[in-house]
């Protein structure tokens, strides 16, 4: 009698149900579906813009369909979730050492959040929202 190690496979299609943190990871990854789809929408919008004022107005009007509204809400959630995970990750990818210590991760991420807020605000102002 001898060794017969038991291999317990990681189920390739359902593994992410095993731990809540895997679910969190998958939700982060899935944001790409919505963001990707939204990018396609942007390209279509560009086309309409190129086609002239009528087309553009039609595009804006089409956006108002219920399906489009639902989609954009989802896309917004996805984009914001993506942004949060991305900024939280910056402290891991780019730690900053000053002397013996490291700049606290929260500070690095926090700076990103702040820049994000400022940038968004500027865009909103330029777009004439306020």
């Amino acid at each position: 009698m001898s060794r017969r190690p038991l291999v317990r496979e990681c189920p390739p299609t359902t593994w992410y149900f095993r731990q809540p943190r895997y679910m969190r990871y998958m939700s982060r990854e899935i944001t790409s579906i919505f963001v990707g789809a939204y990018c396609v929408l942007l390209v279509v919008g560009l086309q309409r813009l190129a086609d002239g004022p009528m087309a553009w107005e039609g595009f804006l009007l089409a956006l108002q369909s219920p399906a489009s509204i639902v989609f954009q809400i989802l896309a917004l959630v996805a984009a914001v979730y993506h942004a949060a995970t991305w900024f939280n990750a910056t402290q891991k990818a780019m730690p900053i050492q000053i002397g013996e210590g490291f700049v606290p991760g929260k500070l690095i991420s926090g700076a990103h959040y702040a820049a994000w807020a400022v940038l968004s605000l500027i865009v909103l102002i330029l777009a004439g929202v306020f």
Binding site: P12, T13, T14, Y16, M26, E29, I30, T31, S32, I33, V35, G36, Y38, C39, V40, L41, L42, V43, G45, L46, Q47, L49, A50, P53, W56, E57, L60, L63, Q64, S68, I69, Q72, I73, A75, L76, A79, V80, H82, A83, W86, F87, H112, A115, W116, L119, S120, V123, L124, L126, A127, G128, V129
Partner: protein, 113 residues
């Protein structure tokens, strides 16, 4: 094992991820406002046209669209694998091709403006 050429796709992915994080939420917010019937003045044809015709505007629009497309395509490729789709080459080909196609389309449309 040879060194990987992954950086070719990963670098634009990382750049795109950053662009998405910073820009996408506010852009979606703007179109969502439009969808809800409160389109801000900035989305008027006139304003959009002026913006998209300027060199800087073209550059910004193209940069945002192309990088975001690429980033999403790359992430989707990984996600396919995570969901158990083992045909990685196929997924990569289709998704990257779509991203490139989208980017070219964006460039063409921008050129026409």
């Amino acid at each position: 094992m040879a060194k990987s050429h992954k950086p070719v796709v990963w670098f634009p992915f990382a750049a795109g991820g950053t662009v998405i994080a910073f820009c996408m939420p506010v852009i979606v917010l703007l179109t969502l406002l439009a969808a809800l019937g409160h389109a801000p003045a900035g989305l008027d044809y006139q304003n959009m046209h002026v913006f998209a015709r300027s060199g800087l505007g073209k550059l910004i629009i193209f940069g945002v669209v192309a990088l975001s497309l690429w980033s999403s395509a790359h992430r989707l490729r990984c996600t396919c694998y995570d969901f158990g789709l083992r045909a990685d080459t196929l997924a990569a080909t289709v998704l990257y091709a779509a991203a490139i196609f989208g980017s070219i389309a964006a460039a063409v449309f921008l050129a026409r403006i």
